[in-house]
Symmetry: D2
């Protein structure tokens, strides 16, 4: 196993950021590759609102990187909802442009879209799907675990001062999305984006009993044949389905 | 030495945060204190814009905690300028209320204001002075190293699209302060606050050659006899004056 | 959640050591306890040979600490087999004496044996059972997950230059135990210790299909009514039985 | 800045190890190097007995890596004195063989000896000089800061049960070196090695007032024209001479 905690400076985020990086098992590395020019596929993984990159330590992320010979990079997203915030950091740009550059300068990470995948859990799944739809030249596949996708509903709840279910309320959602009235069909509305999605493959997993089950299925329907919907028995972050990430990674690698 | 990296959940910040904690040297601890009821003074330390709590690792923070028997807590501040953001986390509330509670629940940290001090470097010094002026019931003394205080000037530069010297521009400053036109004399204007400052002691240090030297002196003047102005030969964060923190801590402890 | 990475100096280990610490959920803390005098039960957790304290990040350790209101402390053990090494650090002394003192000086950790439990996985389970048998005044209960207990067999394999199944060979085992011929019935022989064990409760868990299943059962037999043997469906560290730690913690707390 | 905490598995050390890695400033990277094939010089840095890789955080290591475009790798050495222990890990082999391989597989680290340098402080300086003398095919230059070199004297003190000045006594020194009587002129005796040293350049720095000043000068004399002796005003690890590492790095880079 090899596990890095990366602290680096982002020009786009205007400051330092933290990411956890899981590397392929050393003995899987090609040690005869004297010039060390081999590049590994990369899975970019986004935590959910209120969490941090440390959340992935409790999943099989390290085991997946080691066993399947991929690099997994999990950056902190703070409260950006992985979005180019109206008032705040342009997180989507960071994710699609700057972070891959920083990582490729420092680690043997492949550059081709077909070897770059993005994933997330909860609101991180929202961020991952959005990034994959908008940046198919960067990410060719996406895995969305226990996703929370319907931000329009969350905006409405916030406006009505009801619990949003995530660590956000009206004011902080405005900092992210700008006017909440204008959310529907905006570039942040994942259902509108899904309608126009031209490329990519999407693995959408979750339990049948989740209050978010319907919005996941609805997203899968919008993505049509590009989506692969998977019913799980439990949720990954509360240890209800520890193999959820492993199964998703196997799908990325076209393994049965 | 004892050095903790704390990752915990903040209700006010709506998510997890990171802090570095430096503890008194074990052999300075009173091991006969069988019930471990001794509480240590606490210095709360704020990094500058664009940095992180890791910045303090390169100062004598650990050495100061060990040698002088104090706890030093250095939280991440992200882009909040240590302020209750208009659009974003209420960082000042976090600092003055929630963080002390979390720390005191988990570490032997004293509660009395006379044993709680706040400090910072760069924009962290701005945050520290502001918190000390507004919350004298929490922090009795403040140390401001290489401070950047004149946020009104920075707001004006941002509006005119000039370089601000910190990792902020008009839009992100609005997320922090709200309307930039209304900044002057607002609760964020440290010079206005200083006029009305009723309590506290302020150690304000920096070089004569800094572009911020004038605004530091101006702040010291406003704080009148409550300020102690110190001229340094170099800046702490570029190793120009490594003893800057140590000298400031000695001042906190009334040591010559 | 609150998660600490502790780096501190040990006199007994002659150097700095690292430990992961998981704390009770903040909202479980008694915030009316103004003087913060509440002390929490502590579970001391030992990783297996070749691992590190980071291993516990992938278990429910954080969730158990948060949910059940206990402190979990997981120190690095390096290659000591949690033993007072013949040539090397006196790890058992560190564990039973110095580490509890360091932790209690810095965290609200209970002191009474009935609120101090020790546990481990693999060779860490060997270390935990040994410490619990030898130090009943410190640890009242022990949880041993997927334990590797028969060090005599490992010593014999090492002498015969066969694979030991752990990251040790003859030479490094001598550094730990001294003469391998003298191992049987020594203070390191857990079966000999178990015969004479006067106090304590032992939770011994593992799969039926493990090559170590027999030696686990044999240990449980020696410990007689003090042992509670549990058959699991998979191993904790490869995510085969993620609830293994949670079940063991519930047993510590006498929960059904 | 970019700062990595690396946790990886070592076959030679039989377990996981930790290293701090400091990387060149991102904006110094050649972003037109689309295929990211540029490799950076590497300085391997060893802490002193009783410390850890975290010690380097308080030096200008990060600043040097950023400013001069080099990678600095600082591994934990525990109590090995950076030596192939008689009873314990073969740390010298790890340092000269395995660690460079692991790092080069994961980071853009140059392979040529002329771009690989080793350094250390205290007993880490002993380890660095020894590695540089014995492995000129790996390390072309060496920087030794505040070095503690005369292990024979330390062995004698230990045998006479006198304080050794480092965190070692007779028993633990035997675990490292084997028979202490046989130390003189052994492969661990740095003065004997220096006599036969065929290649390399050695920067040996320290204060005139150190109790180790004489043994440093003696080492420099033995290394003859290959040594460059530098008198400093203070010690690096207690902030007495914060630029000590920077000056040494400039020497490595042939900068005035």
């Amino acid at each position: 196993m090899a596990y890095l905690e990366l602290n680096a400076l982002s020009v786009i985020l205007c400051g330092s950021f933290r990411a956890n990086v899981y590397l392929p098992e050393m003995d899987k590395l090609n040690l005869k590759d004297e010039r060390h020019e081999k590049k590994y596929p990369v899975l970019w993984l986004l935590h959910s609102e209120g969490g941090s990159c440390l959340d992935w330590n409790k999943t099989m992320a390290e085991a997946c990187a080691a066993e399947y010979g991929i690099i997994i990079v999990a950056p902190d997203a703070q409260h950006s909802l992985c979005t180019n915030m109206e008032y705040g950091p342009k997180y989507e740009d960071f994710l699609a442009k700057e972070l891959p550059g920083i990582v490729r300068n420092n680690l043997p990470a492949a550059k081709e879209a077909e070897k770059n995948w993005i994933g997330g859990v909860g609101t991180g799944a929202y961020g991952a799907v959005k990034a994959a739809i908008k940046h198919p030249e960067v990410f060719s596949k996406c895995i969305a675990l226990d996703g929370i996708f319907d931000m329009e509903k969350i905006c409405r709840q916030a406006e009505e001062d009801k619990p949003t279910g995530i660590f956000h309320k009206e004011e902080s959602l405005k900092a992210v999305f700008g006017s909440l009235q204008a959310f529907k069909n905006s570039e942040h509305d994942i259902y509108a984006l899904a309608e126009k999605c031209g490329k990519g493959k999407f693995y959408i997993a979750g339990t049948d009993t989740s209050p978010y089950a319907d919005e996941r299925k609805r997203l899968a329907e919008r993505l049509k044949e590009k989506a692969y919907y998977v019913r799980t028995e439990g949720e990954i972050m509360n240890f209800g389905e520890p193999v959820a990430l492993k199964n998703a990674v196997r799908w990325l690698l076209d393994k049965k």
